[in-house]
């Protein structure tokens, strides 16, 4: 959303109170402290492909020009956190570096995203909620599988647990609310739906997502390099496999 300078002059209070500053132009970025050793850079106001592209471009530039004192950074849907050592550098230095980097033209936006294929055994013991999801939408289980498998998804960020990818692109027709009662234990590899989101549980954990299948792939393996199967910016496709194929891939 753009805001002309003259409008800002006329309606300063309304603009400032209703919209955070990062709405004002594509070039200026908002930056605020996050604890004593963090700077949170806001690059967009809402989740979407545009926000995702801006976050990716900003991170690519961060990789090229590591600001002094930066320890690591964490990209999210619309923001990037820069973590630094507050004993060595000041917040203002990191903020200035972030603003300088954000204003530089990016030259890395044309990288072709990696396409990752995730085999999924849908339904049965692996996807105990498949029938519920189908019933919720008044379609067959096969329709749910076809729609889930037919989609192409973007990894928008990692969070929640090591290697857990928040995926954008779930077909609206199978978006389903979370289960009323969460499960105490969801097995690792379970593929679930929660609202407009879909994702794969990397570890056995409690969870309330509707489980429609399971992948034999390890989403996170600390001795593998890189340890997470998915990285922000990847494109993902799910591919249906039989229980037999699941067993084979599981043993491999």
């Amino acid at each position: 959303m753009k805001c002309e300078p003259w409008r800002r002059l006329l309606w300063p209070y309304i603009v400032i109170s209703v919209q955070p500053p990062h709405h004002q132009s594509a070039d200026a970025i908002a930056c605020e402290p996050l604890g004593e050793g963090g700077a949170l850079v806001t690059l967009a106001s809402e989740i979407g492909r545009d926000a995702h592209e801006r976050v990716r471009a900003f991170c690519a530039k961060l990789d090229q020009e590591r600001p002094r004192g930066l320890i690591e950074y964490v990209p999210a849907y619309t923001t990037v956190a820069l973590y630094y050592d507050p004993l060595r550098v000041d917040y203002a230095d990191i903020r200035d570096a972030a603003q300088r980097i954000a204003s530089q033209p990016s030259n890395a936006t044309n990288t072709i995203p990696r396409l990752v294929d995730i085999p999924v055994c849908y339904g049965g013991e692996f996807g105990p909620d498949l029938a519920d999801v189908a019933a919720h939408h008044g379609i067959s289980a096969d329709d749910v599988i076809a729609l889930h498998e037919g989609g192409e998804y973007d990894v928008w960020m990692l969070g929640f647990a090591p290697g857990f990818a928040y995926l954008g692109g779930l077909p609206e027709r199978i978006a389903t609310p979370r289960r009323a009662t969460p499960r105490v234990k969801v097995p690792a590899g379970s593929v679930g739906i929660a609202g407009a989101q879909t994702g794969v549980y990397p570890f056995d954990s409690p969870g309330g997502w509707q489980l429609i299948g399971r992948t034999p792939l390890r989403m996170f393996d600390p001795v593998r390099s890189p340890p997470a199967l998915l990285a922000p910016g990847d494109r993902v496709r799910f591919r249906a496999i039989t229980p037999r194929e699941f067993e084979e891939l599981w043993r491999a």
């Binding site: 996050l34 929640f160 996170f220």
Partner: protein, 332 residues
């Protein structure tokens, strides 16, 4: 010189004893929590006392400690909460280096005051680092000793003690330390009712009256509190958190306000991103106080600015540097 311990055997694991260091930096973008000792002050002093590097890994005990046996001599230090502890039946105290003779058994019992204790051993715990850290993150079976809490029968490897540690082992063999580190100002007068310095977070300003209410409320640590975070119950007025927040990065010390009357202080094992309102941040220098609070403890917050929190952190670092020098002089 006699042989120095290169491992120890766990006779009993205690309630929840894990290997921890200063944390797993560099993998948070993959969703891997920082982890590390919940009481980083205790971790650093314990390492400093036995002559270890500040990044060395220790055992973090919770509520009831382990029983561990050493075949060869070494040096240990117990820092954090006050735990009942003995070496072959002879009582030992915290916040000082303790010489362990070959063949001794160290028994760490229940916490008298506080909740957690860091046990540093000369050379540091030498399990294989995972993603650059030895810290255990139990929920993902990551790091530490097989990614889990210690259990009886485990044989835990120790690193080679450096020159500092070897000198101290030799000196303390004949003459026990008659001094200890005084930590009263770090933990405050009361383990059971910590006051935590904190400053308002990004979303607090958007919530009418919230900041004042937050700093006036007395909270109680709820039972559902662990290494991920502490849930604090309090008579907060029904705060209207801004709706439709997008998940954003969070850090240990971030105070989140989900709908309802409980606030959550995120700790070392917290997830890397969160979608609740960020209403405050606890000053890092006061996280050890919270780490030592048990369920039922009464917690109050004292408002400072973020700049003051950074100043406190710098001052803490200077104090640690001075302490390190002072300890060094004890062994000249």
């Amino acid at each position: 010189m006699a042989r120095v311990a290169t491992q120890f055997v766990v006779r009993s694991g205690g309630l929840q004893t894990t290997v921890q260091d200063r944390g797993r930096f560099g993998s948070r973008r993959l969703g891997v929590p920082l982890s590390g000792a919940l009481d980083p002050y205790a971790l650093r002093i314990a390492n400093l006392l036995v002559g270890n590097h500040g990044d060395a890994a220790v055992l973090e005990c919770t509520l009831r400690g382990p029983v561990i046996a050493f075949e060869n001599e070494t040096l240990v230090a117990l820092c954090g909460g006050d735990f009942a502890a003995d070496l072959d039946g002879v009582q030992v105290a915290g916040w000082r280096p303790i010489h362990v003779e070959a063949g001794s058994v160290l028994t760490i019992g229940n916490a008298h005051r506080g909740l957690r204790c860091c046990v540093a051993i000369a050379g540091g715990i030498d399990t294989v680092p995972v993603l650059g850290s030895r810290s255990t993150f139990v929920r993902a079976n990551l790091g530490g000793y097989e990614g889990r809490a210690l259990a009886s029968g485990d044989v835990v490897p120790l690193g080679r003690p450096g020159a500092d540690a070897l000198t101290r082992i030799q000196q303390l063999r004949n003459k026990a330390a008659r001094w200890f580190v005084d930590v009263r100002d770090v933990y405050g007068a009361e383990f059971a009712a910590p006051r935590l310095r904190a400053y308002a977070g990004a979303h607090a300003q958007l919530m009418r009256g919230y900041v004042d209410a937050f700093f006036e409320t007395e909270f109680t640590v709820a039972p559902a509190s662990d290494r991920m975070g502490y849930r604090l119950s309090g008579k907060l007025p029904a705060a209207e958190a801004p709706g439709g927040l997008v998940s954003e990065p969070v850090v240990p010390g971030t105070v989140q306000q989900p709908p309802g009357s409980q606030a959550i202080v995120l700790l070392a094992d917290a997830q890397t991103t969160g979608g609740y309102a960020r209403v405050a941040h606890v000053a890092q220098v006061d996280l050890p106080r919270l780490a030592q609070a048990s369920p039922g403890a009464r917690v109050r917050f004292e408002q400072i600015t973020r700049e003051q929190a950074v100043q406190l952190l710098r001052k803490r670092e200077q104090d640690l540097a001075r302490l390190s020098e002072a300890v060094r002089y004890k062994f000249i």
